[in-house]
Symmetry: C2
Subunit: 249 residues, 2 copies
């Protein structure tokens, strides 16, 4: 039985706690959060505390709090013998002030409202010893079918790549939606195309899937599009079109 303590009550902490409580191989020994009210709902399932001095001993401490507080918080666990990990995509393992460190990063965007199945969520794992890596793998592999050894430098790049494929893609949808709204066109007309775009790159490299006026360097169409756009949208249109043209030069 692996004894785990979870630090935090944000989106990642919330879903991880839920999932780990359901793993027979894991004992969620305690959940810590600065504001106890946010973890009050766990009272009957595990020990809860908002007092750092009362954090127990465990095999694994999962710090699932804001990126900029990870380092500071880890100092409170400096004397612990268990493995101390964070769950962040953008924070190096080395910032952890602990005897034994690691990273347990589920690569997905979570919201509390939406139920999460970890089964298909990739876990990026890192630890300084093989034994600790194996400990993380033994838990992650019970939650998910996709576990990868990813070091801090790789994880940093992955996080940037995720900004492009997730955050920036979502902004493309926002602009598309705005254009539709401004012209009384239902955005749902674009749903199948959005599906298709995404489905395509699961089987062929996105570079080979590129279509559109910038790919063809079709200046006439690009100019016609620019004429229709608001200023802010124009800049985005120009920059991405330019980047596409450069990519295929």
């Amino acid at each position: 039985m692996i004894r785990v303590i979870i630090i935090g009550a944000g989106n990642v902490a919330f879903h991880l706690t839920e999932a780990l409580l359901n793993l027979p191989e894991v004992e969620v020994k305690q959940v810590y959060n600065r504001n106890i009210e946010k973890i009050r709902y766990l009272e009957n399932k595990t020990s809860i505390t908002n007092n750092i001095a009362q954090i127990m001993d465990a095999d694994l401490f999962i710090i699932a709090i804001s990126d900029d507080q990870i380092e500071a918080f880890s100092r409170h666990l400096e004397t612990k013998n268990g493995l101390v990990v964070h769950t962040s995509g953008s924070v190096p393992m080395a910032v952890l002030k602990a005897k034994n460190k690691g990273v347990f990063y589920p690569l997905q965007s979570f919201s509390k409202a939406k139920k999460v199945s970890f089964k298909n969520i990739p876990f990026c794992l890192e630890a300084s010893t093989e034994a600790h890596y194996n400990l993380l793998f033994s838990i992650a592999s019970k939650l998910s079918e996709r576990c990868y050894p990813i070091n801090s430098s790789q994880r940093k790049s992955l996080h940037v790549a995720a900004v492009f494929v997730n955050n920036f893609t979502n902004h493309m949808y926002t602009i598309g939606n705005t254009i539709c709204e401004n012209n009384a066109v239902p955005f749902e007309i674009l749903h199948p195309l959005i599906h298709e775009t995404t489905a395509k790159i699961m089987t062929i490299a996105p570079k080979d899937a590129q279509t559109g006026p910038a790919r063809r360097n079709d200046e006439k169409t690009m100019q016609a599009h620019l004429d229709l756009l608001a200023n802010n949208q124009k800049t985005v249109y120009k920059t991405i079109s330019h980047s596409i043209i450069k990519t295929y030069e």
Copy 2:
């Protein structure tokens, strides 16, 4: 029985011909293409020609050729009494030189290699009379469950919106993929996140689904990301981040 003649042998023409040949309510009377070899495979299914003078009479002529050739080609059909339509997202109906005009635009990106089911592909329909609109609707609604009346000005905006949600999104995937490759990270780690990003906006507005450093105006993370990127990627990162920040100001 609606008698249809199809002009062209590109991706849209190819898939439309296939689908219309299977509709019992439609007779594909003839297929025209400038290069006869490309439509030779249809020889046993319909009449084929590369001779404009031999184009027959029909209820509906579907011009599915390059955008910039639609207007010129339509002049050859000027004397026809049937309805003349094109299948383009970016060309106004008015460019057609024909007695009776319309647009029959399936909003999807096609490639010959990939089998197409029209069932979920939106058809954007336009005609100058109600009777002609009904003719287009009667065919489109047998191919697809999603038929919309979309006028030329709406279609123009839709086409620009499609560039954002399809072409530009695909370029975000390309950049993400490049970053992964450069750091020996398998791009497939990002597949579930890509799925999730797309699935989310089918139920909530993309504007409300936005996350990431630009949404939080988290300058430290954005700077760290910029430091990792190649020049071309930097410009894209900055422009889109700026647009996200502006959107939520």
